[in-house]
Symmetry: C2
């Protein structure tokens, strides 16, 4: 089932709303207003209403949005909310940390496997999951079905790793590797860039005169 085109910015906000609603649900609150979501997601209430109204009339005028119902709708729009396997490539510091940290409260994701090309690391167990050799990648991906890969391999090994993933049938990758990576048409790739986030903070500090540069 293919949905309509939604901008990345909107998807990011929907993801925030979903996270906020899960948290709200746990607290036992049943109804929220656009103002409530707005405050917690650092956005205007009009923005929240506009985001939600595009996909249907989820709200009840005079009261607000039903938490459970709105969350279900957002998860349907995003395609999240159902279990989805996340596999990790690279059992170094980052890879281990990801597994140990887990993905609880994220709407269906869970780490299901970890791979490393280093025989020294293979067989070690993190968060109950044994490190597998790369040659088992294809087989494991076939067994798991739908999945997203997170790569956290040393600099210089990123492209090789991506190629193996693509070849094994993975078509969504989240990279902690900063090298520009090539993927075939149709394979989705995103980056987590700590250094860029630091740059943004640094610029902000400089601009407001909080550090001398």
């Amino acid at each position: 089932m293919t949905g309509r085109k939604i901008s990345e910015k909107t998807i990011r906000r929907l993801s925030h709303y979903a996270r906020c609603l899960r948290h709200t649900r746990i607290k036992g609150k049943k109804i929220v207003t656009s103002e409530y979501l707005a405050k917690r997601c650092s956005i205007s209430s009009a923005g929240v209403r506009k985001d939600l109204a595009v996909f249907g009339e989820f709200g009840k005028q005079g009261s607000g949005y039903d938490v459970q119902e709105l969350l279900a709708n957002i998860e349907k729009i995003l395609g999240t909310g159902k279990p989805l396997h996340v596999i990790v490539i690279g059992a170094g510091n980052i890879g281990q940390a990801l597994l140990e940290s887990g993905l609880e409260g994220t709407g269906g994701y869970s780490y299901s496997a970890i791979f490393d090309s280093d025989p020294e690391k293979q067989g070690k167990i993190y968060a109950g999951i044994a490190v597998q050799p790369m040659k088992e990648l294809r087989e494991t991906i076939r067994e798991l079905g739908d999945n997203i890969a997170v790569i956290a391999v040393p600099d210089g090994e990123g492209q090789k790793c991506v190629d193996q993933l693509v070849e094994a049938g993975c078509n969504a990758i989240l990279s902690f590797v900063l090298e520009p990576l090539d993927v075939p048409e149709g394979v989705k790739l995103r980056y987590i860039e700590i250094s860029t986030e630091l740059d943004i903070l640094t610029h902000s500090l400089m601009r407001t005169g909080r550090i001398g540069r």
Copy 2:
């Protein structure tokens, strides 16, 4: 020295150009074209030229941009390129992994200290840096001078941690904690959200019919 207002989107691109230029410099290349940067940063060449032209005429018509000179200019605009201390709060899996991974090739950043409120963890050494108790936060920040804090503490401890940082004089925070955090006016705060990145990938997979939802 306060600079003009630049959008976050532009700063993010400048950060990418800088990273690319550092890499290019290592390869020994002296001149690059807007097309060269465009390819590697997944953007149009007109976009690259527009970004750069706003801050001065860095390019030479007919040839391109001098790598070293352009990098220096971008770093000046961003306020990066000079050494800047990054301190980590939380010596759990993520905190350890960050220190061990280091910040080489990022334009001046380096991890300089790590703190944890758990006495069990205090004194342990990661990447040559000993875990300090939180009560030493203020003193260390004063000694280090300009800094950015990265917080990687357990869920529920984020706000307390932020409050202590702000109180100790830190005014830029990068958070791995997903709770919405409050900071006073003037303190800069950003989030690294793996679950949101996964949501964006999931939606993209669904939209292109690569997973059934």
